[in-house]
């Protein structure tokens, strides 16, 4: 058995896989694991460092597919990809297709990954930091950030897969020249107005800045969210299907949801108007002004 560690980096895995394939090493003979685990199963087999004789030919689209599927965090993250690569390079293209047993698992992972990228684009919330010159405190923070510049907007997000680096590119187009930062429990990105900097280990200073940002003007959005909801059409199941509960805690509107649901259940079902509006004085407009 060969145990490999690619440090969860696709390019490293790719080198390793290329080498394995060139030596015609069967997927059964290899597994990927993080270092500490690897020691448990360490093998004494020695393999030559140079590439073997087998020259694999695979379609370009496979590489892209593997690279995307590699962002999925879960069991057999890397060995599954090698099995696909093995089968396709030996002439069995069904391994890439959703109708195949292995292929369907790959496609499930691709779907999860793209869904998670979409979750980042949708459910991330930026908070504006006050301008840099307002206090020493922030200057100190800026120094701690390594980037020397404070971002104008910060966000805290908890993605389930390794999508941050590739998916955060979206915000470069969206935010123009503004500086922004996204911190997660794992990695982080900072856009300084020109370049996107990715840190595999999110610096603690980034995390703390993103987690403790004050949002003095958050009320407007919460008001909008409560009033665009139609209590006469209450359907929490559909909502949860689209907006999984794990995101609620980081969304400003998250804490409002349970109360909106229970208020709608107890008597607001007949019309769509929010209680706060019904309680206000109305104004009938006379015909002909």
């Amino acid at each position: 058995m060969i145990i490999l560690d690619c440090d969860d980096l696709f390019d490293t895995w790719r080198q390793q896989a290329r080498w394995l394939l060139s030596h015609q090493i069967d997927p059964d003979q290899v597994s990927w694991s993080v270092k500490e685990d690897a020691d448990l199963f360490a093998s004494d087999d020695h393999y030559p460092p140079h590439n073997g004789p087998f020259q694999a030919r695979v379609p370009l689209e496979l590489l892209e597919l593997l690279q995307n599927a590699a962002q999925y965090c879960g069991d057999q993250r890397w060995s599954l990809l090698y099995e696909v690569l093995w089968r396709v390079s030996h002439g069995d293209r069904t391994a890439m297709m959703a109708g195949d047993k292995l292929g369907s698992e790959v496609h499930r992972r691709l779907k999860q990954v793209s869904r998670e990228a979409h979750h980042l684009h949708a459910f991330l919330r930026f908070i504006a930091l006050p301008p840099c010159n307002v206090g020493k405190d922030l200057e100190v923070k800026a120094a701690l950030l390594e980037t020397q510049k404070l971002p104008e907007y910060v966000a805290w997000h908890e993605p389930a897969h390794d999508i941050l680096h590739s998916a955060s590119q979206h915000f470069v187009g969206r935010m123009g020249k503004h500086r922004w930062m996204i911190a997660t429990p794992k990695d982080g990105v900072f856009y300084d107005g020109e370049r996107l900097i990715h840190k595999r280990q999110c610096p603690a200073a980034w995390q703390s800045l993103a987690r403790h940002a004050d949002d003095p003007h958050g009320e407007l959005w919460l008001t909008y969210y409560s009033h665009i909801f139609n209590p006469a059409r209450l359907n929490p199941k559909v909502m949860q299907g689209h907006l999984p509960t794990r995101f609620w805690k980081n969304l400003p509107e998250g804490p409002l949801i349970p109360a909106l649901i229970s208020e709608a259940r107890t008597g607001k079902q007949r019309d769509g108007q929010a209680r706060q509006i019904a309680e206000r004085r109305g104004k009938v407009i006379r015909s002909g002004h």
Binding site: H121, G173, F229, I285, H289
Partner: protein
């Protein structure tokens, strides 16, 4: 009045419009540019409210003061609702604030009719112009079009907005006469035609300024009058044909406070709206015609979806051999969608389709089973009558708890 008070009134007044899509816009990016915003054709739902609806755009009215007296509308002039009015600048501020927070992908602005149709339309256009020109905003803009407004104003709107919509609301002239006396089918279609002409003018002219690149849409209210599903679907079909509409939205009539006697007190079943959306999707994506789905007056079945209904009516076509059938016919099998059809066709180029493959492709097998043949499967139900099949396959309503306060 504080901005936050206006927002609460004018969001509450806007919630009855079903559309909130931010899709189909052209590719725009602010990378390295002043200004803000991007679009890429894919819509983003930034949140969901507990009614299961997506929040993609800041959907508000410029004002809910209105001279019209449409009976189904909470903002009709005879309605006793709190009223408010934004300035165009306030709408711009809110849009940009929510956009920077990543709460929305743009603005969907509509309005009650104040002073005149032209004046109202001018105000809507002004907001879009401020956003696009002063703030270099490249996010999504959807403007409601006032049908009676000067075509020149509608054309101007089309140059700033990604999408324009003219709501038909009720598909018959009689319905409009009864419930929306100030509206007229002729002017609604005229406005749709103005937008369509604008789109045609820039078609195949890559250098021309864009005109409503995300197309036009409309909305029909379901259950405010006696109009049946057949009329709704046939109307939708002709709108798709005549004006190349991108979408027709169906909005189940939502009872409003202090409802006038002319409209019902209760909402139609939301399932009816759902079935209409399913049927509409079959019109747009699957090549069905309205006549195939509803031949003659009446409603769509509530207990089965329209695709299954069609299949049960056309048993002579089935079962279909998945290893041979035309893709367009495979897509007509209940429980198998366009995506799965594509995957089946890809797979059968490599090898024969087996029953097990369908499980992996996540077909709704309970529905598909009676209608398919694979290399290792022939349906036992092939000879079961359509009536018996319908009994097996129909959706049974969930047991419902009686409302405590009804």
């Amino acid at each position: 009045m504080q901005l936050i008070d206006k927002l609460s009134i004018l969001a509450d007044a806007a919630k009855y419009d079903a559309s909130c899509a931010s899709s189909a816009a052209p590719k725009r990016s602010s990378e390295g540019k002043s200004g803000i915003g991007s679009s890429n054709g894919m819509g983003i739902c930034h949140s969901y409210t507990p009614d299961g609806r997506c929040v993609s755009l800041l959907k508000i009215l410029l004002t809910n003061f209105c001279l019209y007296d449409c009976q189904y509308c909470v903002n009709r002039r005879s309605s006793d609702v709190p009223r408010a009015r934004f300035t165009p600048e306030e709408v711009v501020t809110l849009t940009l604030d929510f956009y920077r927070r990543n709460c929305v992908s743009g603005l969907f602005l509509s309005s009650g009719i104040i002073r005149s149709a032209d004046y109202t339309m001018e105000q809507l256009v002004r907001v879009a112009k401020l956003l696009r020109e002063e703030h270099e905003f490249r996010g999504y803009i959807h403007l409601k079009t006032i049908p009676e407004a000067d075509p020149a104003l509608i054309e101007e709107a089309g140059r700033y907005a990604d999408r324009l919509s003219v709501n038909i609301e009720l598909p018959t002239q009689l319905g409009l006469q009864t419930l929306a006396p100030e509206k007229e089918m002729g002017s609604i279609k005229q406005a749709m035609q103005t937008i369509y002409t604008g789109q045609q003018t820039v078609l195949n002219e890559p250098k021309a300024p864009r005109f409503t690149p995300a197309g036009q849409s409309t909305q029909m209210i379901v259950g405010a009058d006696e109009t049946d599903d057949s009329t709704l679907l046939h109307t939708a079909e002709s709108l798709y044909g005549d004006f190349r509409l991108k979408r027709v939205y169906y909005s189940a009539f939502s009872p409003i406070p202090n409802s006038p006697k002319s409209v019902p007190l209760a909402a139609p079943p939301l399932l009816r709206e759902h079935r209409l959306y399913q049927a509409d999707f079959l019109l747009r994506g699957y090549g069905y015609s309205a006549k195939e789905l509803l031949d003659g007056p009446g409603h769509l079945a509530l207990d089965i979806d329209p695709k299954l209904a069609w299949a049960l009516e056309h048993r002579d076509v089935f079962p279909l051999d998945l290893n041979r059938a035309e893709p367009a016919m495979i897509a007509r099998i209940p429980g198998i969608g366009i995506r799965t059809t594509k995957r089946l066709v890809e797979l059968r180029r490599q090898r024969r389709i087996r029953y097990e493959d369908l499980t992996r492709l996540r077909c709704v097998l309970a529905k598909a089973k009676p209608f398919i043949i694979t290399s290792d499967y022939h349906p036992r139900q092939a000879d079961t009558s359509s009536f018996a099949l319908r009994e097996q396959l129909r959706d049974r309503p969930q047991p419902q708890q009686m409302a405590l306060w009804a």
